[in-house]
């Protein structure tokens, strides 16, 4: 299958990309690694008229420590996130989650920003960034704004990114030494999560338990008030609205959310994660 026809423009800079988005409006889509967008276009689930290729904006591919945060360029590829010594030391949960995305070929092309903007509620990296209390830096015609991850995932495959905006950076708290856990439940290694759980520093995020990645707020409150892991984990599906599909009924998803939360929290109770 092949995408419907489109015009292709290569952006020479972030400013250039933003100008192109303004020029073409909702008909335009940014193309980074293309590993979320192009498959949708081949199935004709997405049919943008213009693709603005930002894949060569190497200035958006970086990992650097910035005070008590780590700043990651939006176009940093999964493979780079996975293997970055800085992230492995400072934000190991994110590096680990990146190592589980898709398969090796996909990880060599797909980008962190691309995955986040895609807004797939079953995806690994949105869940990890949500658990990490990441901050997403957007640039648009009216300048730069920061959106906390808790406000970024707006709906099913929808994010707070406006049609003329571009995600340029992801800022994550430095958590070297903090314990963490990440449980991705799949049938096959390269599947999307049936349910996923990221736990770090008292925060818990869930994948595929609703239209967006979600925070397990009841579990977090219980942990904050000193509940035992098992008791806190038993609350993990509270407030979620999981869907049913051929892999899992809603009941089974709720069970998995509780089970995987317990396992992630148990892993996270160790000294340095799994």
């Amino acid at each position: 299958m092949i995408p419907a026809a489109f015009d292709y423009v290569r952006a020479g800079s972030v400013d250039d990309a933003l100008a192109l988005l303004t020029e073409h409006g909702e008909d335009a889509k940014l193309l980074a690694g293309g590993h979320s967008l192009l498959p949708m276009m081949k199935l004709r689930l997405a049919m943008p008229g213009v693709l603005v290729d930002v894949g060569r904006l190497t200035e958006l591919s970086y990992v650097r420590v910035d005070g008590d945060q780590v700043a990651v360029g939006a176009l940093t590829r999964h493979r780079e996130v996975e293997s970055s010594p800085v992230l492995r030391a400072e934000v190991p949960l994110l590096a680990h989650a990146a190592s589980l995305v898709g398969d090796p070929q996909i990880r060599r092309r797909g980008t962190l920003g691309g995955s986040l903007v895609h807004g797939d509620p079953a995806a690994d990296l949105p869940t990890a960034v949500l658990a990490l209390d990441g901050v997403l830096v957007l640039r648009g015609p009216s300048g730069r704004r920061e959106v906390p991850a808790t406000e970024f995932f707006a709906g099913y495959f929808q994010t707070a990114t406006g049609p003329e905006e571009m995600l340029v950076e992801i800022r994550l708290p430095r958590l070297a030494g903090a314990s963490w856990g990440f449980e991705k439940f799949t049938r096959r290694a390269n599947d999307w999560a049936i349910v996923g759980v990221a736990a770090v520093d008292g925060r818990v995020a869930l994948a595929n338990m609703g239209g967006t990645p979600l925070r397990a707020t009841a579990t977090e409150r219980a942990l904050a008030s000193g509940a035992a892991v098992a008791d806190a984990a038993a609350l993990a599906d509270q407030g979620t609205e999981p869907g049913a599909d051929m892999h899992a009924s809603t009941d089974y998803r709720r069970h998995l959310a509780r089970l995987l939360t317990r396992r992630a929290l148990t892993a996270a109770s160790g000294p340095s994660g799994p």
Partner: protein
């Protein structure tokens, strides 16, 4: 030393590894210059009346030459049911005219100058559908509540056996009777190469049709029949084929359509389906609902077995509708059960049609009896290996007729069971299992068994167990073999060359094997049903023997010797006078004088019955329900092995597909008949991390039915491994009260089974 039985690496591989094979869609041929590209518009609804097809917009799109609908196919009749016992009203048009009967039913064709234009234009063909109620479950189809073919008056394609003939007292003398329904789920064969075809008609009124297929000769007869032309008007060439697994055996309606389009437009045309099309358009496999009843004594003796099946044949009766007869034939498996009964009813549903998939009727038989054996063992509380041993047919070297009516050639089932249990360390595994159970581990271990026998070589050239071969030696010292088999991964180019090389002394790399062109090889049975070595290989062996006899006659003149005194010197690829090695003439020199070739036929006395035992070890996370295959030990006895490298490869691949059925794969439809597994993102194709390396145990019991002593090995894996793995998953949680879990034994199914065994309603 003979080359037979040795691990000769494939002669096919250097090209495959450096330039890639040449599949149908890779063809560059001047006859196909300027070919139009075919894009098929398929129904997105399962059951509907076609109100209208409006091609106006599509015809105006760039590059569109024509849009063809069923109404245009005035000169071809719908395809009649392929077997005489099928309901005659269930005919299949090449393109739907008034009714669509499954998602994927071909409705129209767009012909474009370029490939990319076709997909754009196909989106613009506006078909107005008036939905009809869909019938998805074959059990529901049996009620005839909604008919797929109103003219047929029923959804029943055919019934094999009759419930009236069932003995009402079959289980009367049994101390224990266990009955339940089990589902052998629908699978997608999912060959890596999808279907593809190209066609052109010559000035001589003949069509050359290239297509991805497992047997050019059978496809020739089938496609010619669909077009209403003489087979001689059709030349079929099958280039390299990227896997078939049964689904590319026989004629595809689409291939007839491609040939028809080439004739109508007086231009070459070509078609290659994409994966989304393949997963709804290419036939599926399995899809049986089985009611099994097994009875016997508390000492473990099984005395009676009944198998009552409903075969989901999909929207049109194809080969799949007759496959349950193979299931019936193999119902008794390896067991000496006194009374065996079976019945099968094939019905249509609003789903993709069914045909062969690796094993084709036999995995279903093995799955049923091996599940039944475990259910029986669980009921009487005896170890499943022990129950099996008590009921096995004893070793036999003369034909043995089972209660189901099959005539097995040779077998030693107890030896296969013993060898597999020893290789797996069955007792050690049971001890480990007991420890885990005692500890109450979250991860529990299951051990699953399957003792199987299958039928191979049941089909062949002209329908019988036969095949032809031509062997020719050339003056330059090379040789050519023509075969009616149709390799698509099996390695016949190497294996058949080994057979000739062994007798002639011509090196394997100097022997070319050609196949898959009806002008070159007019007769042949193709490659299916694990028949190729035992029939096609035997034909090559026989042709080579006859070639040597012919050469001896000619060499006798040259060497002024009695033909009976001549022997082959394989070190020189020559004939010499026995005792006088200086008096020699090479096959090549004989061929320089006069073409040196033989064509011959080999006919076997009947099909052969390979057998074996698989032991699967599975770890199940009892909290999540996820099962992971830890080990798979396989004893597969397919008679004498020609090339262990190739035979092991067949076993590996079959085992993986069996594991896939047991743990992962299923074609899923929703209640409206929408396929939920129509891309590789959704169909859980087995990948490398899900399986361990397999542990193969050699065993060779020859068959007297052919000079090679060989039985078929192509399908052993799916037949043996599938129930072993399923049984292992269930065994892992048996102590929790679970008796059965349907395939695929997905995490949700395992978890649900545990919940239900615990009395939790989930």
């Amino acid at each position: 030393m003979s080359i037979l039985g040795t691990r000769v690496v494939r002669t096919e591989d250097p090209l495959f590894l450096t330039r890639g094979a040449t599949y149908t869609d890779d063809l560059v041929d001047e006859r196909l210059a300027g070919a139009l590209h075919v894009t098929i518009v398929r129904s997105p609804v399962a059951h509907a009346r076609i109100v209208s097809v409006d091609a106006t917009e599509a015809l105006a799109a760039p590059g569109v030459v024509a849009v063809v609908t069923g109404a245009d196919l005035t000169d071809v009749s719908p395809i009649p049911p392929p077997f005489p016992m099928f309901n005659k009203a269930m005919v299949e048009p090449l393109l739907a005219t008034d009714t669509v009967r499954y998602v994927g039913n071909a409705v129209a064709v767009v012909l474009t100058e370029q490939r990319y234009q076709g997909e754009d234009a196909a989106e613009l063909v506006a078909v107005d559908y008036d939905p009809l109620p869909p019938v998805i479950d074959p059990r529901e189809s049996l009620t005839d509540g909604t008919l797929l073919f109103t003219d047929a008056g029923t959804n029943l394609i055919a019934e094999f056996g009759s419930a009236d003939a069932f003995d009402p007292h079959l289980f009367d003398d049994c101390e224990v009777v266990v009955a339940r329904e089990i589902v052998n789920q629908r699978l997608a064969p999912a060959s890596m190469e999808t279907r593809a075809a190209a066609a052109v008609w010559g000035d001589d009124g003949r069509c050359v049709l290239w297509c991805s297929n497992q047997g050019a000769q059978g496809a020739q007869a089938g496609v010619a029949g669909m077009l209403g032309i003489e087979p001689a008007q059709l030349r079929i060439i099958t280039p390299d084929v990227g896997g078939g697994f049964g689904a590319k055996f026989g004629a595809e309606p689409e291939y007839a359509l491609i040939a028809w389009l080439a004739r109508r437009h007086q231009r070459p045309v070509r078609w290659a389906e994409n994966r989304s099309e393949n997963l709804v358009g290419m036939t599926h496999g399995r899809a049986q609902v089985q009611q099994i009843t097994i009875g016997g004594r508390r000492d473990g003796t099984v005395t009676a077995y009944r198998l009552d099946m409903v075969q989901d044949a999909g929207a049109f009766p194809r080969f799949g509708a007759v496959l349950p007869t193979l299931t019936q034939m193999m119902a008794a498996g390896v067991y000496a059960i006194g009374k065996v009964e079976s019945r099968a009813r094939s019905v249509v549903t609003n789903t993709t049609p069914l045909s062969a998939y690796r094993g084709a009727g036999r995995p279903e038989a093995t799955a049923a009896i091996e599940r039944a054996m475990d259910l029986f063992a669980a009921e009487i509380g005896v170890d499943p290996a022990e129950v099996r041993r008590r009921n096995l047919v004893p070793p036999f070297t003369e034909p043995f007729t089972t209660a189901a009516g099959a005539v097995y050639d040779t077998g030693d089932y107890p030896a296969a069971l013993t060898a597999a249990l020893a290789a797996a360390d069955y007792d050690g595994l049971r001890a480990e299992q007991a420890e885990r159970r005692a500890r109450g581990d979250v991860v529990q271990t299951g051990i699953g068994l399957s003792v199987y026998v299958e039928i191979t070589g049941g089909v062949g050239e002209g329908g019988g167990p036969r095949e032809n071969a031509t062997v020719e030696v050339h003056a330059d010292g090379t040789a050519t073999i023509l075969t009616g088999t149709s390799p698509h991964g099996q390695g016949h180019a190497t294996a058949w060359a080994m057979l000739a090389s062994d007798q002639l002394g011509i090196p394997v790399e100097k022997i070319t094997v050609r196949h898959g062109d009806t002008d070159l090889v007019p007769r042949g049975g193709g490659t299916a049903g694990s028949r190729s070595l035992q029939q096609g290989g035997s034909a090559v062996h026989k042709a080579t023997e006859e070639l040597i006899e012919l050469a001896k006659q000619r060499a006798a003149d040259v060497l002024e010797a009695n033909p009976d005194d001549l022997v082959v010197d394989t070190s020189r690829a020559a004939l010499t006078v026995a005792g006088s090695p200086d008096a020699a003439v090479s096959f090549a020199d004989l061929a320089a004088t006069e073409r040196l070739f033989v064509q011959t036929d080999f006919t076997a006395p009947g099909p052969t019955f390979p057998f074996g035992t698989h032991v699967a070890v599975v770890d199940v996370d009892t909290e999540s329900g996820k099962a992971t295959l830890r080990r798979l030990v396989a004893v597969d006895d397919a008679g004498i092995v020609l090339n262990p490298l190739l035979a092991e490869g067949q076993r590996h691949g079959g085992i993986a597909q069996g594991v896939a059925q047991a743990l992962y794969e299923e074609v899923v439809y929703d209640a409206d008949g929408n396929p939920l597994t129509a891309t590789f993102a959704d169909y859980p194709f087995l990948t490398a991390p899900e399986v361990p390396s397999f542990e193969l145990v050699p065993m060779e019991t020859p068959t007297p039915y052919n000079p090679l002593g060989a039985k078929g090995i192509g399908e052993a894996g799916t037949i043996g491994a599938t129930p072993a793995v399923q049984n292992a998953v269930i065994d892992a949680v048996a102590h929790l009260g679970v008796r059965h879990i349907e395939m695929p034994t997905s995490p949700q199914r395992v978890w649900t089974a545990i919940q239900q065994a615990n009395g939790v309603d989930s």
